[in-house]
Symmetry: C2
Subunit: 379 residues, 2 copies
C-alpha cells in the first residue's frame, strides 16, 4: 500500500512537472475578480488537459481586504527561501481568499501571504507572469490602471485589463510598449464583457478595413430609457436598477454618457487606430430626456436609445459621438432591451456585421478575462 501510494504520488508529481505553470497577479478582487477566480478553480483540469498548463495566483491586491503575495507573508521565517519558492509554485490558497471575502469581516486572513506591499509595489516586485488589472476605474483619467499596466510591461510581463480606462486613454502607447517588450496585452472584457469584439476583428476579419463602429454600449441608460418608455417613475427605476446590481451608487458616469464615451473610444482606438481620448467624443447623456420626449417618440413609432458611433472622415480623422437618438421601432437597435448590448462593425469587405450580448451577468465579465488569459498561454 505504501509503495502504491508513493508511486501514485510520483506519477502525480510527474504530471505536475510537465505542466507549464503560469503565475497570475490579480489587481482588484471585486465581483468580477471573484467570479474569475472561481472560473480558474472550476477549470483547473480542463486547462491542464487542453493546454498542458497550470495557473496559480501569486498575488492579489485589493482596496479594503488587504493584499496577498504568495510566500511573502509574516508566517514565514526570515531566510526560508526554499519555502518561498515552493509557495510560489502552489500559489495563494484561492479557495481561502474567496471564503475570506465572503466572511462577515471580508478581510484576507492567510498569514503566509498577507503583506504590507502596496498595489504598485506588487506590480513592480511580486513574482508573476501575467498581470490582471481589475481595479476600480477612474473614467476621467484611466488611472491608476494605466500605471499598473505600464509597470508590468516594463518588467516584460503580460498584461490583461478588464478596465476600459487604459484602452480609452492610452491604447497606442500601451500597445507599443507591449510590442517592444515582446509580451501580450489583451482587453476583450473592457467592452461587452467576454463577447468577442476585439478578438473578432483581429482573428476573423483579415485585411478588412473598419470604416464605422456603432452600438448601444451602456446598460444603465438603456434600462432607464426602456423603463421610462414603459411608464415607470425615475426614482423607482433607479431603486430597481440598484437592487439588480447594475446601477452604481452614483450613476452620473452612466447617465451623462461618460461610460459610453469611454467604450466607443476604446473600440475606435483598437479597431480603427483612432488614437483618441474620451474627451474628444461629441458626448450627450440622457439627463435631459424627459418622459414627454419619450412619449412623443413613441407616438411617432420611434424609440430613444443612447447611441454610440464612430467613423472616419474623408481626410482620415476618426470622429465619435454619444447621443440619445430616435430609431424606428422595427429597427434591430430598438430590440436591444435592458442589459443587452450591441456593437456593429462596418468594413470595406464585409459591410455591416453586428454582435449582440444578451443580458450578461458577472460570469460573462469573468469569462472575458479568462479568455484573454487562455489566449496568452496558448498563442
Amino acid at each position: 500500500m505504501g509503495n502504491e501510494m508513493n508511486q501514485e504520488k510520483n506519477l502525480e508529481k510527474n504530471l505536475e512537472t510537465k505542466r507549464k505553470v503560469w503565475k497570475l497577479a490579480l489587481l482588484g478582487f471585486g465581483n468580477a475578480g471573484q467570479a474569475f477566480a472561481k472560473m480558474l478553480l472550476d477549470h483547473e483540469e480542463e486547462i491542464a488537459s487542453s493546454y498542458g498548463a497550470k495557473m496559480v495566483v501569486t498575488a492579489i491586491a485589493t482596496g479594503s481586504r488587504g493584499n496577498l503575495v504568495c510566500g511573502s507573508g509574516s508566517g514565514l521565517a526570515d531566510g526560508a527561501e526554499d519555502a518561498v519558492e515552493a509557495a510560489d509554485e502552489a500559489g495563494i490558497d484561492l479557495r481561502r481568499a474567496l471564503a475570506d471575502v465572503e466572511s462577515p469581516a471580508g478581510k484576507f486572513t492567510d498569514a503566509t501571504a498577507l503583506t504590507s506591499m502596496t498595489t504598485m509595489e506588487i506590480v513592480e516586485q511580486a513574482d508573476y507572469d501575467i498581470l490582471v488589472e481589475m481595479t476600480p476605474l477612474n473614467i476621467k483619467t484611466g488611472q491608476p490602471a494605466i500605471d499598473h499596466i505600464r509597470g508590468a510591461l516594463r518588467r516584460g510581463k503580460h498584461a490583461i485589463t478588464a478596465n476600459k480606462g487604459p484602452i480609452a486613454w492610452s491604447y497606442r502607447s500601451l500597445r507599443d510598449m507591449a510590442k517592444e517588450a515582446g509580451v501580450r496585452f489583451y482587453y476583450e472584457t473592457t467592452v461587452m464583457d467576454g463577447t468577442p469584439v476585439f478578438n473578432l476583428a483581429e482573428h476573423t476579419l483579415r485585411l478588412a478595413r473598419v470604416t464605422e463602429v456603432s452600438g448601444i454600449l451602456n446598460s444603465t441608460t438603456n434600462f432607464i430609457l426602456e423603463e421610462l418608455a414603459a411608464g415607470a417613475e425615475y426614482e423607482d427605476i433607479m431603486r430597481r436598477g440598484r437592487e439588480m446590481g447594475f446601477i452604481e451608487a452614483d450613476p452620473a458616469m452612466d447617465i451623462e454618457g461618460y461610460d459610453a464615451a469611454a467604450k466607443i473610444t476604446a473600440l475606435l482606438n483598437v479597431l480603427m487606430d483612432a488614437g483618441m481620448t474620451p474627451d474628444q467624443v461629441d458626448r450627450k447623456g440622457i439627463e435631459d430626456i424627459s418622459t414627454v420626449d419619450i412619449q412623443e417618440a413613441t407616438s411617432r413609432g420611434k424609440v430613444i436609445k443612447l447611441l454610440c458611433r464612430g467613423w472616419r472622415d474623408a481626410d482620415g480623422t476618426v470622429h465619435a459621438s454619444v447621443k440619445p437618438t430616435e430609431v424606428d421601432r422595427s429597427d434591430m437597435l430598438a430590440s436591444i432591451d435592458s442589459t443587452t448590448s450591441i456593437v456593429s462593425i462596418t468594413t470595406d469587405l464585409m459591410k455591416k456585421l453586428s454582435v449582440v450580448e444578451h443580458q450578461p451577468e458577472i460570469e460573462q465579465t469573468a469569462y472575458g478575462i479568462f479568455g484573454d488569459v487562455l489566449r496568452v498561454i496558448c498563442e
Copy 2:
C-alpha cells in the same frame, strides 16, 4: 538607364522570390468565384506586404465555360517543360478568364491553359496547394463537392469549401481526413458568407461549450414572409426576388426548408460535433403558410419567421428543427429583415451571443472564401 532598369528588375525579382507562392485550384467560377477572383487581384499588393505571399490560380473548372489548367494547354509544345514550370509560377491569366466569362460567348479562350481534363482529373492531377470548392450544390447529397474535397485531402492539399453540402453531409470524416493529412480544411462562407460564425467559436470562445444554436438562415423565405406580411402577392414577390438575384429559378429547396436544414446541420456539426445529416432535421418549410396565417399573427403582435434551432438533450444527443415560428414584434428576430440573417450561439460560459449579417451581396460570399485562404497561408 539600362543599368538602372536592370537593377530595378533585379530588385523586383528579389522581392518576388522572397514571396511564398500559393497555387489555388478553383472549382466553379460563377458569381462567387468571379467575385473571389477579383478580390484576389485587388489585394495582390496587400497579400504581399502583409503575408509575404503571392497567390496564383493554377486551375479553374467550370460546368459550361471550359476548364483551365495552367501550362497544360494545347498552346505549349510537347516537352516544353521549362515553359510549363514558368507558367505555373505566374498562374492562369485571371484577368483574361474574368473577361472571357463576361464576353458574349462566355467561354474561356486562353489556349495555353484550356484543357480537356475533367473536374475530378483536375482535383487529382493538377498542380495546386489549396483547392477552393465552389461547384453548384446538390443539397440532398452534398456531392460531387464531397468527392472533390476528399480528392484534394488525399493528395495532402488544403481545401476550402463555399459549398455547405460537405459540412452538412460529411463534416466529421472530412475533418478527420484533413487532420490526418496535416492540412487545413475551412468552410466559413457556407453559413452567412464571410460573417465569422465558425471562426468566432473556434478563435474567441475557448473552453466554452456550445449548448444551443439558433437563427434565421435562409434569405429567400425571410424575404417572402416579410413581403407577404406587407400585403404583396406571391407571384410578384417571386418575380422581384428573382430580379434581385436571390430567388433561384426553382425555389423549392429554400421554400421547403432544405437550405435552412443544411445550414443548421452544418452549424451543429462544427459547433456541437453533432455528427448529423440534414435528413435528421425536423423540417417544415413555409409552403403551407398563407396570407391569412400571417395576418392573424400580425393582429396578435407577432411575426412569422422560418426559425432554425439545434440543442443537446439530457443524454447528449443533438436535435434540430427548422420551422415557421411566431415571434414577438419586439423580439430581435422580428427585426431580421429581407436578406439579413442572424445566428445565436449559447454557451455555458458566455450565455447567448448573436451575430448578424446585414443585407450581404456577392462580395461578402467572396470574402468568406478569401478569409479562409488567408487563414491557410498565415496560421
